[in-house]
Subunit: 309 residues, 2 copies
């Protein structure tokens, strides 16, 4: 069994590669829910949905999130009311939020709904939200105070500087059913190439989860989302610069030093390998750019081999 | 100023005719919210929406509710999850529910949202929900117990017999801002040709509203929704048979005897006029079938003249 701690786009692409090289039934993804929010009365779980759509082969290949061939009837009409259209929700995408919201109102947990959706999509792997409880990533912006994650990420296009990140509700959150067991019994725990600060940190912030991962440190392989000092997507570089040890593969290794015994860094950062090793993290150098599904599968193979060594 | 107590389709068509013969700014519709419900996390107000779409010229002419030229991307996709699709919500229609739900979550009252939507649609008349508080029509079905209105009306296609109707929350509900003042100061109060039992009764059940209407009885004109012993639409006939004084124009006159000094009944029921008069309600006989907007305008003229006499 292989557990992958997952955020959105990067994790989804990695998982798509992983299920091409190992049996999907042997894969559990533990997914960030710190980005989840309610808009228009709807419960929206961006990372779970990105992973779901990607693995179902339905994701928009250009954005990496949302649905391919999406239509926008609802948003176009909502605009006419002067409604909140800053978070663009396509028609097909909305159906999932309607389904989730209704099932939650009927008393189903987020895990249960996630399993139902995975079944409806015919996904072979197991998708688990890290928690069924409230966990809300909040971003402290100098002069602005605290913003809800999506306000900052989408509303302000992550253009405002960040002083701190906080995971509201984390202290009270309990790991969703199956999460701790999966981590504890996995042969390998992969930290996907997601944003360490706002995608993986909230997963590790759920009481018990970080501890369980750290206990498995020897079997934990992280994939650096920073390549050549830049994030492939999103604001990971800026956040690691401000809140971590810098936007480099070494900074990522330091960020995960307590959790991951091994890190996979990109070929372009090969010269940083000695610095990574120096901080006590095994370093594997490989092509980490998932330009297509074959490249994602190759990266998954690298991770599996890194774990075997 | 003319106030119309309104349910859904019949009231909407009447109002469309009314604003063709009087200045829209002189018309206030006080609309039933007993059918309102929450589904998929969305606040749905079927009667307000039917009136809105009809007056905006956007209503589906075949059904009398929902949007003309509607698309169904969201419902089609929701079906794939096994979601609740018994209440069909088109894509454009959904936009209104998203807007309303978000505004409610932001603290806006139903009246405020209704006014915003009316403004966005450029409606000239004033639309008021009868109350901003919870008011939920419940239907008692022998052997089934109490059903939420939409479960019975749409879910069971009003095919189950009804023992009683109850307006949950009515005792605590307060008239929405402007409702009592509109009724008290109106030259004319029209009871639209809506279902007396499940569309107009909940309006009258809001404390203060029924009393205000009864005080204006001399200036209240009801239009019978029963023509030739049948309802033009929906289950009014069955409900009046079981819970009222029968599914005839006389039965409607008796149902409204305390509220309406005058009733307009259809030409086909002309022979019932003496029976209506006998119970102390003035009777006007006219063509009440609103087969098109011109016919609705003609009916509105009849109502205005009935009030003048």
């Amino acid at each position: 069994m292989i557990v992958t701690l997952a955020g959105g786009v990067g994790a989804a692409r990695f998982l798509a590669g992983l299920v091409d090289v190992v049996a999907p039934a042997d894969v559990t993804a533990v997914v960030n829910v710190g980005d989840d929010f309610v808009l228009h009365g709807l419960s929206i779980s961006p990372d779970l949905d990105t992973v779901t759509y990607t693995l179902a082969g339905e994701v928009d290949p250009d954005t990496g999130w949302g649905r391919a061939g999406e239509t926008w009837q609802v948003m176009d009409e909502l605009e006419r009311y002067g409604g909140q259209t800053w978070f663009r929700l396509g028609d097909r995408d909305l159906a999932l939020h309607l389904y989730r919201s209704q099932r939650r109102a009927e008393g189903a947990s987020l895990s249960e709904v996630t399993a139902e959706v995975a079944r409806a999509k015919g996904l072979g792997l197991r998708l688990l939200p890290v928690t069924d409880d409230r966990l809300a990533t909040r971003v402290v912006v100098p002069g602005e105070g605290e913003l809800a994650f999506q306000d900052w990420f989408v509303g302000h296009r992550h253009g405002l500087p960040v002083e701190a990140v906080r995971f509201d509700g984390a202290e009270q959150a309990r790991p969703a059913p199956g999460v701790l067991d999966a981590i504890t019994t996995a042969e390998l725990v992969v930290v996907a190439p997601s944003n360490p600060v706002v995608s993986i940190a909230p997963v590790l912030a759920v009481p018990g989860v970080g501890e369980a991962v750290r206990e498995r440190r020897h079997d934990v392989v992280a994939v650096s989302p920073i390549v050549g000092g830049k994030a492939l997507k999103g604001p990971a570089a800026e956040l690691l610069d401000t809140l971590g040890a810098g936007a480099t593969a070494v900074g990522v290794a330091e960020w995960y030093a307590a959790e991951a015994g091994t890190i996979v860094i990109d070929d372009v950062d090969a010269d940083l390998a000695p610095d990574v090793t120096a901080i006590g993290v095994r370093c594997v150098v490989a092509d980490t750019i998932m330009r297509d599904r074959a490249a994602a599968a190759a990266l998954a193979r690298v991770v599996l081999e890194a774990a075997d060594r």
